[in-house]
Amino acid sequence: MEYTKQEFMAVTTGREIKDSELIIFGVGLPMLAGYFAKLNHAPNLRAFTEGGIYGSTPVGGLPWGIECNRISTNATSFTNAIDALGFLVLSGRADNAVIGAAQVDKYGNVNTTGIWDEPPWKAGKYLAPRVRLNGSGGASDISVGCKHYLIMASHEKRRFMEKVDYISSAGYLDGGDRRERCGFVGGGPSAIISTLGILRPDPQTKEFYLDAYFPFTTIDKVKENTGWNLKVSQDVKIVPEPTAEELKNLRTVDTTGFLRKNG
């Protein structure tokens, strides 16, 4: 059965989600991965969005936003941002989440704010970026609050960096016990699902290493596309291909074929 790399990535992300988790989704790829998990193997997933939309599944295609009518047609509750991002996320109550990243570094710090010729931490000042991105949205809240969370990112050297331009959402900061010393209630990112494979944090150093790669690539290619000296697990695995069942479920969620259009 044929499938796109984006579909493979979504399925791979979905597999990281366990049944009954209290989980918050951002819009786009993360949402598709999440609702795929719910349909596929996690029927009791308690999913919600940043604005406080509960009990719903998308209708009529990928929602254009987390407050799109496509996610509002069959909700059991609409509350508000303080509830979703405050009471459920910042409090430490939510189990899991899926966020995106424009840049991610070896300690799982995420940048979704901007790109600089000389980033603030290097320049020692904060000037207008060369490229403005979106800001953190709820991802920064997720990064400090959720018990753990998943990062999805396109695996390119300019995106997988030794150090991101701007930390929008804190991962393990400088690594080691640095995050712990900050006192965040949440545990930090448990995996980076990239277009090439799965990276996980070393329990001690918190540096992300390659745990598994997709069958269409190689370890060398993954390393080439990584901006730091990527360590590889001794028992590195190949990510199992999506099953026919998984693809069927994913495509039920991705009604309008968002993941097929974008390769």
Partner: protein, 329 residues
């Protein structure tokens, strides 16, 4: 109780001014937002705005694109699946608009703190990252310690951050339906419209529908924005267009992309304004511009059933006009 119906022109003239701190509730990138109000602000030439919102939207995209936004505090500035906000980003990159980043959760809590009139809000987020260390107000300090300073928990001695609270001059809040006194029902997520309505000095409602107050008395638990804190009610169906309003209409996909594309350059922004902002005065003209076909299409929303319980209380256009005229005296 006082009839607070007001034309969109009068509301903008009365409740907005250059240099004000402005909140565009709900400020949703795809959903409910008081977009028609922002367009009227463009028409009336408002400038030097200090905008505070958790998310961007096409309203902020437009206001920034025409150069009206001097400074913005925001959690998320994009248009979600519709892409980066081209007009806002152009203004930010050029240095025309200063941008102060927070998280969405932080923005909601800062509105809460403003509504409480607290000196500060405890911050467990936007600390130990660049949202704390980078301040557009103090660009020469890195890491900045003034934007989100430290506060000590007196119970444990541990250090946390402290957010500045938000007390806007005016919030123009989009609601699904309001009565003429300013009681309002929102369908769909509130985001932080509840807190915003209490934090703001003046509140203008921009309502897609006007209902009889009997509707509020049947559903008092739905009335989260209360006449007690509202200054003006603007009746403007499809006020969030091209964004969506749960229960009433979906986002206009073509126009969302088109509008954002036009915000990319100053010239195209001007062209867009000529055609879509400065070309209407009455609501009839606004509707004609969107076009009957488009209106029909976006009104075929899967959320329409959410409006069913309230339809019997909807006031007619003729009745609303009469009430508006009666008020003028």
């Amino acid at each position: 109780m006082q009839n607070k119906l007001m034309s969109i022109q009068e509301a903008v003239t009365t409740y907005t001014w250059d240099g004000m701190t402005y909140c565009n509730g709900a400020a949703l990138p795809v959903g409910s937002c008081s977009i028609a109000f922002g367009k009227e602000m463009v028409k009336q030439g408002r400038k030097d705005l200090n905008v505070i919102c958790h998310c961007g939207s096409q309203q902020i995209n437009l206001l920034a694109a025409v150069g009206a936004v001097k400074r913005i505090e925001v959690g998320f500035s994009g248009l979600e699946v519709y892409g980066f906000a081209a007009g806002l980003n152009r203004a930010v990159v050029s240095g025309k608009t200063l941008i102060e980043d927070y998280s969405n959760g932080a923005m909601a809590l800062r509105f809460f703190g403003g509504a409480m009139n607290w000196p500060f809000v405890p911050a467990t987020v936007c600390i130990h990252n660049d949202q704390q260390w980078c301040s557009a107000d103090h660009p020469d300090e890195y890491p900045c310690t003034r934007k989100i300073p430290e506060v000590t928990d007196p119970f444990t001695g541990k250090k946390y951050g402290a957010f500045r609270t938000i007390r806007p001059d005016v919030a123009a809040i989009h609601v699904t339906m309001a009565d003429i006194y300013g009681n309002a029902i929102m369908l769909g997520t509130e985001w932080n419209r509840f807190e915003m309505s209490r934090a703001s000095d003046k509140v203008v409602l921009v309502a897609d529908q006007i209902v009889h107050t009997d509707c509020m008395r049947q559903y008092p638990n739905l009335v989260r924005i209360i006449s007690e804190v509202v200054d003006a009610v603007v009746y403007w169906p499809y006020a969030a267009w091209p964004q969506s309003s749960p229960g009433l209409y979906d986002s206009d996909e073509d126009h969302m992309f088109y509008m954002n594309k036009m915000m990319k350059t100053e010239a195209d922004t001007k062209e867009f304004c000529d055609q879509w902002v400065n070309s209407w005065n009455s609501h009839e003209e606004y509707m004609a511009l969107i076009g009957k076909e488009k209106i029909e299409k976006i009104s075929q929303t899967g959320t329409a059933f959410l409006m069913d319980p309230y339809r019997k209380w909807l006031r007619t256009d003729a009745n609303i006009r009469e009430l508006q005229d009666r008020k003028k005296g």
